[in-house]
């Protein structure tokens, strides 16, 4: 009896020490731990898949009971939303195409040039203390740790663990999530300047256009063509090149430097499932001006960022001013609904600093 107790005590001490050593190794990103995870995954995945198939009806019954009314409400709301957005989508698609063409012409990176893998969400986090989901694509599809994950609305999270045919996505709301972003603040004024050229060699004088305070749109008229540019709060007014008139006259709408949307970079950090993520380290510079609620937050990109630039993340829902020179903290309302994810897109993007030379 005493010998049995002594053996158990030794076993407990051994297991505790093993756990501490494993924690230390894992925090150092040891490859041995990744190998152990993979080995366990090989044994565990078939059991998990079988259990998933067997328990699916029980999950469906539960979801049917608990979420039925929500699904009906969502259906009604979404039908209404689709009707509202059908027209806007066509205009938006044209703008996006134009924007991508302009970026490509200037040799700037666009999201259209990045390959993506579509994946299905196959599981939530089993723990109450991590905001992760599992998707059904892995390293076989070219997915690597750190790649950004999107849904139709915008950024959802990033890949944190990859196995052969599965990956774990850390959601933006996880307190461990951090990503550099840009806050696109709205310009203080809404004046535009029209440059009319009779031909390329002879520039015409600059003609200022009076700001239209009662309207959100600026209208540029020429003798041959009329173009209406809708200004979305917080976005840079698009530069539109009109087709050349028969006489060779073209017109370009150029916003003044002071009218351009001002961008500042910061870091978005998750704060758990019940609290909105925040953006910190926004310097309270004069050029930035007052941050308005509703301005968009997009990824910053850059050679060290894990995400390409200009993926929509969310909008500012609240500005919390701080005393001193620390700058405000922004609370962000995410565009993606993280509580209801089914199909996701993993951008096969790696920053230049992460790419392995062939």
């Amino acid at each position: 009896m005493a010998a049995g107790q002594s053996t158990r005590r030794r076993a407990i001490i051994l297991l505790v020490l093993t756990s501490i050593i494993l924690i230390t190794l894992d925090l150092q990103n040891s490859s041995a731990i990744s190998g152990l995870r993979s080995v366990f995954g090989v044994v565990f995945r078939p059991i998990e898949s079988t259990t998933r198939v067997i328990t699916r009806p029980a999950s469906n019954i539960w979801n049917g009971i608990v979420n039925y009314n929500n699904v009906l409400d969502d259906n009604d709301r979404l039908r209404e939303k689709i009707a509202q957005q059908e027209g806007a989508t066509i205009a938006a698609a044209a703008s996006v195409r134009l924007s991508q063409e302009l970026l490509a012409l200037n040799g700037l990176p666009t999201l259209a040039g990045i390959n993506a893998v579509t994946a299905q969400v196959i599981g939530d986090s089993p723990s109450n203390f991590s905001q992760t989901i599992e998707i059904n694509q892995g390293s076989e599809s070219g997915i690597r740790v750190g790649m950004p994950v999107l849904n139709a609305a915008g950024l959802v999270g990033k890949i944190t663990k990859v196995s052969t045919d599965r990956s774990v996505v850390m959601l933006i709301t996880d307190p461990d999530f951090a990503l550099s972003i840009k806050v696109v603040n709205a310009p203080r004024q809404a004046t535009t300047t029209t440059i009319a050229r009779s031909n390329a060699a002879v520039p015409s004088p600059v003609v200022p256009v009076e700001p239209d305070a009662n309207s959100d749109s600026a209208t540029v008229a020429s003798t041959t063509t009329t173009t209406t540019t809708t200004t979305i709060a917080g976005f840079t007014p698009s530069v539109t090149t009109l087709p050349a008139a028969p006489s060779g006259v073209s017109s370009i709408t150029v916003p003044l430097a002071s009218d351009l949307a001002v961008r500042e970079t910061g870091v978005i950090e998750g704060r758990g499932p019940t609290r909105q993520p925040t953006v910190r380290f926004i310097s309270n510079a004069l050029r930035f001006g007052d941050i308005q609620t509703g301005v968009p937050i997009v990824t910053a990109g850059g050679s060290r960022s894990l995400s390409p630039p200009d993926i929509l993340v969310g909008t500012v829902s609240r500005v919390v001013e701080r005393v001193g020179s620390a700058g405000p903290v922004l609370e962000i309302e995410l565009v993606a609904d993280l509580s209801n994810l089914s199909f996701l897109r993993v951008l096969l993007y790696q920053p230049i600093t992460e790419k392995v030379a062939p």
Partner: protein
């Protein structure tokens, strides 16, 4: 001795599979019931401090490999939870089922508090929030509901059957 621990490993594979599939989907009030924690606490309540701690350490180590947190963290947390469960019952000569159920509820609350505390110790901050109150209440209620099954399962799994020839 070896047969109960090899049986534990096999049973835990299915318990963890249930946790990552069915119980990750069924989230009353947005909280996932913690089946692995329940099994470990039931083991501690049934078999005492040492067996509870060992079950927690082994089950936690297996559970660690499917969680995104550092490997070894859940092992320590569940080991502590199993030992706590054994300690709560230690002072009663023949605990009744109801005493065991109450001990399971108390240890479920403690186990769910140990986890974010352990995360904070290794530098994973941000989980000690007011939401924790809701989480521990829901987990405790779920564990109380499933406790009779867990007690039976852990009793069967960890029964000390000597192999005779």
């Amino acid at each position: 001795m070896s047969s109960r621990w090899s049986r534990l490993v096999l049973v835990m594979l299915f318990v963890i599979a249930l946790q990552t599939t069915l119980f990750a989907d069924l989230r009353p009030f947005g909280v996932a019931a913690q089946l692995v924690l329940l099994f470990v606490i039931a083991s501690g309540v049934n078999h005492g401090v040492a067996i509870g701690a060992m079950t927690g350490l082994i089950a936690g180590l297996m559970y660690d490999f499917v969680l995104p947190t550092p490997v070894g963290l859940v092992s320590l947390v569940l080991g502590l939870a199993g030992a706590t469960a054994g300690l709560l019952i230690y002072f009663f000569r023949q605990p009744t089922l109801w005493m065991k159920v109450v001990a399971i509820a108390v240890c479920s609350v403690l186990g769910e508090i140990y986890y974010p505390l352990a995360q904070a110790v290794v530098g994973i901050d941000g989980w000690l929030q007011l939401r924790l109150i809701k989480v521990v209440i829901v987990v405790a209620i779920c564990n109380v509901i499933f406790s009779p099954i867990a007690i039976l399962l852990s009793r069967w799994t960890l029964a000390d059957r000597k192999l005779t020839v």
